[in-house]
Symmetry: C2
Subunit: 223 residues, 2 copies
């Protein structure tokens, strides 16, 4: 029963990409928390988490590659595996971006703490919600949910532009806060990039589902 | 002779990824040139180029997908096609980053022109060279050349950190130059991201070639 075995492997691949996504989401939340609390231990945790993400990415890539090589899957399964390979790369980069946030957060521990005009908690939660929603779309095979992630991207772009404008104004009013403001500017940019990766994941879900739609349309046509 | 046809298709895929890489490299060079010359027409060109890159990416992805679906390639060819799919995504994002540079360059046309302590020409050339070298590694199937790209990444990280430090100092000395300095800061970051994508491409080349090495090792073992 090689096909049943193959379906089990596909299910395992799905579990693995979900575990990878959980690590990535954890990374984003911990990195923002590390910034908000100026918590050095959390910064170190994000760094360790990033190593775990890299290992998980390699394992997942190898498993996807083995499946492609040995099972020679057709149409919809092939699209799913390709989507997983692409998502995997985006999740790994979410880990990278989170580590950048954590490194900046750690740098800021040595600086005087000042009020900055950026709501990083809201940005972090929003980016995190985009990742979660993209994964929900994958789980449910729901193109509409995936589309909603793509629409969410505009809001975080707006937040990022607002943060840039506010920080620019702050620097001009209080040049002595420039070091903190520049870090904040780049953290805002990291969070916007994380949202971009979530958007890429949603696009991959749509690519996979469109394959399903095409197959469905063909099977209807042949009725 | 379906296998000969398949080899032709693989060669076509290679041509297409090289054309895609040429577009991406053109985007980087034009974006930096647009910034250096404050040239609005070049900014518009980068935007059009980005549309062309997106179209090329979709076509290449579909071609790779068709090859995987219809030909069910084995080992080394499979690895090559997967590497092309990943490179394709990185080249598309180089196009995105170049467009960000061009948009910032256009925004700066309206601002007073000032001397900024960043050598964008050198950074752009360096990033461009990394893309070119990664592609050379693909053409020659040369893991050592691909490794050299990964080593080059440290230098552009250094350039980016230096640019950040210099711009920070500038803002503190001359707060009135903050708008231009922030744009420069983010352009520097865009170029550093472009170099990251070139590094990813080099890593994909190594993934592909390692497959070849494994196959080679196996064929030696079976002698």
């Amino acid at each position: 029963m090689p096909r049943i075995h193959f379906q089990q492997q596909l299910a395992e691949l799905k579990d693995k990409i979900l575990a990878m996504a959980a690590l990535a989401q954890q990374a984003v939340q911990s990195a923002v928390e590390a910034y908000l609390q100026r918590d050095e231990a959390l910064c170190a945790y994000v760094k360790e988490n990033e190593t775990a993400i890299n290992t998980a990415q390699r394992e997942l890539d190898e498993m996807a590659y083995e499946l492609l090589a040995k099972e020679q899957p057709m149409a919809i399964d092939l699209r799913f595996i390709l989507a997983v390979i692409k998502m995997n790369a985006d999740l790994e980069r979410i880990g990278d971006q989170s580590m950048s946030v954590a490194i900046r957060a750690r740098d800021m521990i040595g600086m005087p703490e000042v009020e900055l005009p950026v709501d990083f908690e809201a940005m972090g939660e929003y980016a995190s919600r985009m990742i979660r929603t993209a994964l929900q779309a994958l789980l449910d095979g729901d193109a509409q949910v995936a589309e909603s992630v793509r629409e969410m991207d505009d809001e975080i772009d707006r937040m990022n532009r607002l943060a840039q404008a506010e920080l620019l104004a702050l620097i001009q009013q209080k040049p002595e806060l420039t070091p903190q403001a520049l870090h904040a500017l780049l953290i805002s940019r990291n969070l916007e990039r994380i949202a971009d990766h979530a958007t890429n994941i949603a696009t991959d879900v749509i690519f996979w589902i469109r394959g399903a739609d095409v197959r469905h349309a063909l099977s209807l046509a042949s009725d």
